[in-house]
Symmetry: C2
Subunit: 340 residues, 2 copies
């Protein structure tokens, strides 16, 4: 075991051709005769030759590595997305290399350096908490960046999000249509585009319907903050519906409410955002806005690869529509009208 790897030179010698010929056989689009291809392939297979990706990367300037920057994987939406990204990129001949950063941009400097060190061909920033500097500096370095599930003002950055504003508005319409009248919001982190946009769309939707937003608290995308916020809201304004900025927090809210006397959905309807797998588990049975993870990933991969192949590609901002998935935590009828 541990015998030296076979190189293109080994194959060349064995096949009686030049080393460059071997290289061409493994370079799509290079000009080689069918005879050479056949001869080389046969020997390569016999010897178990495979091109060394590192060497290839060194000369071609392409590492076939995509850096995926994530923060906490606690919210199930992210591991799921990472898995999909990995599979999709794998199908295109790329691999993902994971860079974990702490919440608020600690260690971001190192991550940027590391990203450059590994000569990644592209970067997917898949976490809400990332500081703007990280993404901007990567773009500065000339590496294509796509923001996944987060927006940013910077025009050079491509991004893929769901239609968060519209989603928030849809939730408002849905709740109002269900006869809810005392409506509150535990928002996503308002410092993030997703949290902000959903909250804005939601407020808009309510005001169009002529209903007040009884109270809104920033849940910061954290379970404990969200749970406390919900309790505070219940105490103060006695709502008949709460829209929670994502499923991850909504589960915490559901849990917190279970401890009090109020019943979901009879007393209070709860709506989340994301439609992660767990939302459909009977324990939660959560009405939520689906973020079409699969389509978001497909779009992200497509954009990133296009930009890698042509760095002149202009940045694009893609928004993918999601729809409300109605489940038990907020049934369509709204329990025939508001209570009281």
């Amino acid at each position: 075991m541990n015998e030296r790897r076979v190189t293109s030179q080994d194959v060349a010698t064995a096949a009686g051709v030049s080393q460059s010929a071997v290289s061409r056989v493994f370079t799509p689009g290079a000009s080689v005769s069918a005879a050479t291809v056949a001869k080389v392939r046969a020997v390569a297979d016999r010897l178990g030759y495979r091109p060394n990706v590192l060497a290839r990367g060194l000369v071609s300037g392409r590492s076939r590595l995509i850096g995926v920057v994530v923060a906490y994987l606690e919210n199930q939406f992210y591991p799921d997305a990472v898995e999909r990204l990995s599979r999709a990129l794998q199908a295109e001949g790329y691999r993902i290399i994971i860079f974990t950063v702490m919440g608020r941009g600690e260690g971001v400097g190192e991550v940027i350096e590391a990203l450059l060190d590994y000569q990644v061909d592209g970067i997917i920033a898949a976490s809400v908490g990332l500081s703007d500097t990280l993404t901007r500096r990567c773009a500065d370095a000339g590496i294509p960046v796509v923001l996944f599930n987060r927006g940013q003002i910077d025009q050079r950055l491509s991004q893929v999000t769901s239609a968060n504003r519209q989603g928030g508005q849809d939730v408002a319409d849905f709740l109002v249509g269900g006869g809810r009248k005392r409506i509150a919001h535990v928002s996503g982190w308002l410092g993030s585009s997703t949290g902000f946009d959903r909250a804005e769309g939601f407020a808009d939707g309510l005001s169009k319907a002529g209903l007040p937003l009884m109270k809104q608290i920033d849940g910061k995308y954290q379970r404990d903050v969200a749970a406390a916020a919900a309790l505070e809201i219940v105490e103060e304004v006695r709502p008949d519906a709460i829209f929670v900025g994502n499923d991850h927090m909504a589960f915490a809210v559901l849990d917190a409410l279970r401890g009090t006397g109020v019943s979901v959905p009879d007393d209070i309807a709860i709506v989340g955002y994301d439609d992660v797998t767990m939302a459909s588990w009977p324990s939660f049975d959560l009405t939520t806005v689906r973020q079409p993870s699969g389509r978001m990933v497909a779009s992200t991969v497509e954009m990133l690869i296009r930009q890698i192949d042509d760095h002149a590609q202009p940045a694009k901002k893609v928004e993918i529509a999601g729809e409300i998935v109605v489940r038990g935590s907020a049934p369509a009828g709204g329990g025939d009208g508001a209570r009281v």
Copy 2:
């Protein structure tokens, strides 16, 4: 933007030293004078130089990349472990590159090739479903492999697991001690070491206590299979306790039971395995055996790095003890004895 990266040659010229001198400054342990170090460091910082990892890897034979092979990330234990592995390895100067494989070894051939292509320095196989061939062939290629949370007969392979047999036995003791008498098991996949060992330890514990294992069904680590199994068990043997092979399945069992008349823990105690984050959520409040993920990761990383640094290191099998975490789904007292 997109200006050519600065190379060691650039730094050498600017600093008035040879290129090898620059290289030495960035090679820990190389012999360079303090004066050279200072001079080169200053210029390097000014120019923003960082060694190209690919080039370094090509000549040194070290890519500083660790391949992490996972299957489905649905069970929260795995994304959590991946995150920990990523952080721990990052601290040691390594990065992880993710390889996702489908359940039963489809695409395993490609994964092996890709692992070799990228010249990974080591491999962590972090998924129960991986076929033995994958791991064995990697070991054949001379790449250090550590199995994370799975066992295998092959003596050349290092592995880190929790003390699954003991854990199963502990659960038996715990349930018996709580006065439960009609005890059943929805096992983890019996084709895996974790599933098998836990089941065996459990059966052993019961038989030592002189109690029968009323019924056992293989839950295959799948939610739907586990839920159906639990229902079948309830129907057939009216158990007062079910040990479920991991938390991921236990959540499904809890969900399924909620639909029937039986109450947890009064009628039936439920115990899981893993202690993933969600186990402590009020919705589940699951008594379970903790798999000390942090210590398992630390041990995995340490072993892997040791083997990378010295390929002659013998393979080791590490087992880390976990303890029962008692929560509402199976309280310690067992509701003062069995019912009926």
